[in-house]
């Protein structure tokens, strides 16, 4: 079923409530209009009759008065004008009397009076006319006597007109009473319908507010919990209007997505911390190895210096004691012995250095893996951005919905006041959601900044590890050269030992050879010093790497602290 047709939506509940109120108000309006119509019709009819009757009776009264005045004047001083006025006035009395008689709504008493007016007018007219004829005949006294006859019917005529007037007054009172009664009755009906409508309207309003208020407060609590970092699911409980159901679902989905993301961030943070710890341990091991190398090199250097000193002594002894070949042989043996010692030390340390190189390769792998994980973290934070956008869109739509609801409520007038409050609550909820989304954005931005730092640190660490590797490689090469040189010394010393006793003559050559050897030994010493410098440099790099691993570890710790703010 489409949302438009569902009863369980705020929109349709509001429309339904409005229609229910309309259903109450429309009959009231119709009853009032109908009552007004009836009252207006009755008034028009009754007033029309009253007006007509009043016109007729006024006409009769004034015509009778004209008639009598003209008749009396004619008796005093006969004139054709008076005679005409008398006849015309009499004729108009009959005319008014006929019109009065034609009014259908007269009471029997009024109708009798109207008929009596005709009869009496006829009497008055005849009496005066007879008097006029007598006057025309010159019988003035008789004329006056005859005119006196008209007085009685004239008085009765006026009385009959007054009777009609009294009847109309009574009719007017009766009409007023009837109208008042009708108005009272209609008012009672309107009151009853109005009260029933108000009760129904209040009931609908209360039900609407109750059905919205409880879920809204639950949702508001949930939004506040989210804002505080508590991302546990929202349970509304009661059956909700469709819009709030949708809102509740959206909030729960937001919570669910956030919980997933935060869980992953925490996992990643822990893994980074672990990696940083490993890196630190390796760095320390490396530092220790470098220390050993340095110590060994110092020993080599000292040995080489001693060799040089020995060779110098040998050269001098060869020049001074050319003849003492035995001494030379002994010296040569001493040289060979020293060379073997050097060879042995160098071989031992070359293995150590090779072990250190392997360790460095491991470190490099760790660092590269950490870099990849940090990049993954950055990618995840981008996904969070998308969800935050979703939240913002939902809250924006909710805000719009709340605005629409507020407009609808305003249209409903006073009866929409309750819902206007609800609409404001919904709007505030939307604002809270938007605020929470902004907070999340801020948090993610902080996480990303930290992640960036970690990535940079990782890159630097990788470069340092590379440097250390090169240095280690240099050391190995130098040691190889030392071993080779020492081998040559050994061989030379052996030849000295072999040839010293047999060839004294060759002593000069020996001296030369010894000088060469001395030069080579010097070379050995400087090489050893280079190795020492390289080893020291390696130690410094290792320390730097250890510091960076520590920094990485601290960053991972801060990340953990950040996500620990969320309850999932």
């Amino acid at each position: 079923m489409s949302r438009r047709l569902q009863l369980n939506t705020l929109r349709n509940r509001i429309i339904g409530g409005g229609l229910a109120l309309l259903a109450g108000i429309v009959p009231i309006a119709l009853i009032a209009v109908a009552a007004l119509g009836i009252i207006r019709t009755t008034m028009r009819q009754e007033l029309g009759v009253l007006q007509q009757v009043a016109e007729m009776t006024n006409g009769i009264t004034s015509s009778v008065s004209d008639e009598i005045r003209a008749a009396e004047e004619y008796l005093i001083a006969p004139s054709a004008n008076d005679q005409r006025t008398f006849r015309d006035a009499a004729a108009s009395v009959y005319q008014y009397q006929r019109q009065l008689s034609a009014i259908p709504d007269l009471s029997p008493k009024e109708r009798d009076a109207v008929t009596r007016i005709g009869t009496l007018q006829a009497q008055v007219e005849v009496d005066y006319h007879y008097a006029h004829v007598l006057a025309d005949l010159g019988r003035a006294d008789s004329a006056i006597a005859a005119a006196a006859e008209a007085r009685t019917p004239t008085a009765e005529l006026i009385a009959a007109v007054n009777d009609i007037g009294a009847g109309q007054a009574a009719r007017s009172t009766a009409t007023t009473n009837r109208l008042v009664a009708a108005a009272t009755r209609e008012r009672s009906i309107v009151w009853v319908v109005l009260i029933v409508s108000v009760v129904i309207g209040l009931g609908i309003g209360a039900a609407l507010v109750r059905s919205v208020d409880q879920p809204i407060s639950v949702l508001v609590d949930a939004a506040e919990r989210f804002a505080d970092g508590d991302l546990r699911p929202v349970h509304v409980g009661a059956r909700l209007p469709a819009e709030l159901e949708a809102l509740s679902g959206a909030i729960n989905r937001i919570g669910s997505r956030l919980r997933g993301i935060i869980g992953e961030v925490i996992g990643e943070g822990s893994r980074i911390a672990g990696t940083a710890g490993d890196l630190s341990a390796v760095s320390e091991e490396l530092a220790a190895t470098a220390g050993e190398i340095t110590t060994a090199m110092v020993e080599i250097s000292e040995g080489a210096e001693r060799q040089v000193a020995g060779l110098d002594d040998g050269t001098r002894s060869m020049e001074q004691l050319g003849k003492a070949a035995d001494s030379n042989a002994a010296l040569a043996r001493r040289v060979a012995q020293l060379g073997a010692e050097i060879h042995r030390v160098a071989a031992r340390h070359r293995a150590d250095i090779a072990a250190a190189g392997t360790t460095l390769t491991d470190v490099q792998e760790f660092v590269e893996r950490s870099a990849a994980q940090v990049e993954e973290l950055e990618r995840l934070s981008l996904a969070i951005d998308d969800f935050v956008d979703l939240i913002k869109r939902i809250s924006s739509q909710t805000n719009l919905l709340a605005l629409n609801a507020a407009i609808e409520a305003a249209r409903a007038g006073e009866r929409g006041l309750g819902f206007a409050v609800v609409a404001e609550e919904v709007r505030q909820l939307a604002d809270s959601s938007a605020q929470a989304a902004d907070d999340v954005t801020e948090t993610i931005r902080a996480v990303r900044a930290k992640t960036g730092e970690v990535a940079a640190t990782m890159k630097a660490g990788r470069a340092k590890v590379g440097g250390i590797g090169q240095a280690a490689h240099g050391v190995t090469q130098a040691l190889d050269e030392i071993v080779a040189a020492v081998g040559e010394v050994e061989q030379a010393a052996q030849r000295v030992v072999e040839e010293a006793s047999a060839n004294a003559k060759a002593t000069a050559d020996v001296v030369t050879v010894l000088q060469d050897v001395s030069g080579a030994a010097s070379t050995h010493a400087s090489s050893a010093q280079e190795v020492t410098a390289a080893a020291e440099e390696q130690g410094a790099s290792t320390e730097e790497m250890a510091a960076q691993a520590n920094e990485l570890s601290q960053a991972a710790e801060r990340l953990r602290a950040l996500v620990e703010g969320f309850t999932v």
């Binding site: 009959y94 008689s101 034609a102 109708r111 009869t119 006829a122 005849v126 007879y130 004829v133 019988r139």
Partner: protein
């Protein structure tokens, strides 16, 4: 004791007895001034018609019954009579009233309320009656026709140039007077005087003397009734004036009164010597029922009305509204009724425009059609 009572009631009683006792008679009201000759004439003819109908088997086996109420030709009394008829649910129609004044006064009663009642006048000729209401009918021409026919007779046939008018001061008198004067002056005649009277006028002498003082008149037009004429005719002798006297149908009856009315011209919608088999049969039956009497226009009108009502009741049954609707359609939806007074076909005002007026003249106690018509 009335002759009609002796003759009609036994017939009615016989008719009722012949009828099934379980069906009540259908009541028709009869309203008029029955203590006067003209009222009696109306009642006699109505009772004759009822007796004829009942003898012929009534209306689908039910007899007709007349409910008679006297209005004394008085408008107020006529209203009381009308209310009594109106309130009696058994009365389905009223024959009456006789005069214009009473018929007009009663018309609002008959036409008002929820159960209006038909009134059909045999002789109320006031033009005002045309607009009295849908339940008011008449079977006679209006005063317009009487007044103009009399004026034409006076000017064209009697060659009268000056006319004096005496009129009874009621709706009838004023109506006839107005039309007569208008028609007479339109032809070139002069109205010397027009004087209103009521029956309590002390004397007609002064009116007549003033006419003489003004040079006299060729005709004296009496727009009034028999009672007025019975005083005016002797007064003429008293003042020594003998004009040609004429009057409307209100004067009918004067021919039989004790005063000398020979030569008086009277307009009438009906004269007993009217040609036609139906009229001859009616006059014969009337003469048989009321020996020595001749029907007048009121009686003939009432007779036709009763027979027309019988025809309507045959078609509609005793229902006031249906009866009225049937009557309104006589001459249009249903055929016109050819009665003793001529053809009755109602127009939308309840008048009979097809009917004409003839001039009668009093001759030895009878009203006969004047020569040359």
């Amino acid at each position: 004791m009335r002759i009609s009572g002796r003759l009609a009631w036994p017939a009615l009683v016989l008719a009722v007895a012949a009828c099934s006792s379980k069906t009540a008679p259908i009541a028709i009201g009869l309203a008029g001034p029955f203590s006067t000759e003209r009222g009696q004439s109306m009642r006699d003819a109505a009772e004759l018609a009822v007796a004829e109908i009942n003898q012929a088997g009534g209306i689908h086996g039910r007899t007709l019954k007349l409910v008679v109420r006297d209005d004394s030709a008085n408008a107020e009394r006529a209203m009381a009579v009308a209310r009594a008829f109106y309130a009696d649910p058994t009365v389905v129609a009223v024959v009456g009233h006789l005069t214009s004044g009473t018929t007009l006064a009663a018309a609002p009663v008959y036409n008002g309320g929820d159960t209006p009642l038909v009134e059909i006048s045999p002789s109320a000729s006031s033009p005002e009656l045309s607009s009295a209401g849908p339940y008011t009918f008449r079977v006679c021409p209006t005063d317009l026709l009487h007044g103009s026919r009399l004026a034409a007779w006076a000017f064209d046939r009697l060659h009268a140039k000056r006319a004096a008018v005496l009129y009874i001061n009621d709706a009838y008198g004023r109506g006839v007077r107005r039309v007569f004067e208008r028609s007479f002056t339109a032809r070139g005649g002069t109205i010397v005087s027009d004087d209103p009277y009521l029956l309590d006028l002390p004397s007609f002498g002064p009116y007549l003397r003033l006419v003489l003082q003004r040079g006299g008149a060729d005709v004296l037009m009496i727009a009034g009734t028999q009672a007025g004429a019975e005083r005016i005719l002797p007064a003429l002798k008293t003042v020594g004036w003998s004009p040609t006297v004429m009057g409307g149908d209100g004067l009918t009856g004067i021919e039989k009164s004790s005063v000398d009315a020979n030569g008086v011209y009277i307009s009438s919608a009906y004269l007993p010597d009217r040609p036609g088999a139906a009229n001859q049969k009616f006059v014969a039956a009337y003469a048989k029922a009321y020996p020595g009497k001749m029907p007048d226009h009121r009686g003939a009108g009432a007779y036709d009305i009763i027979h027309l009502l019988a025809r309507a009741l045959e078609a509609t049954g005793p229902d006031r509204t249906k009866l009225r609707d049937y009557l309104a359609g006589v001459g249009t939806r249903t055929p016109a009724y050819d009665g003793v007074t001529g053809r009755i076909a109602f127009d939308s005002s309840g008048d009979v425009p097809d009917k004409d007026v003839v001039i009668g003249v009093v001759h030895d106690g009878h009203l006969v059609t004047a020569g040359g018509q």
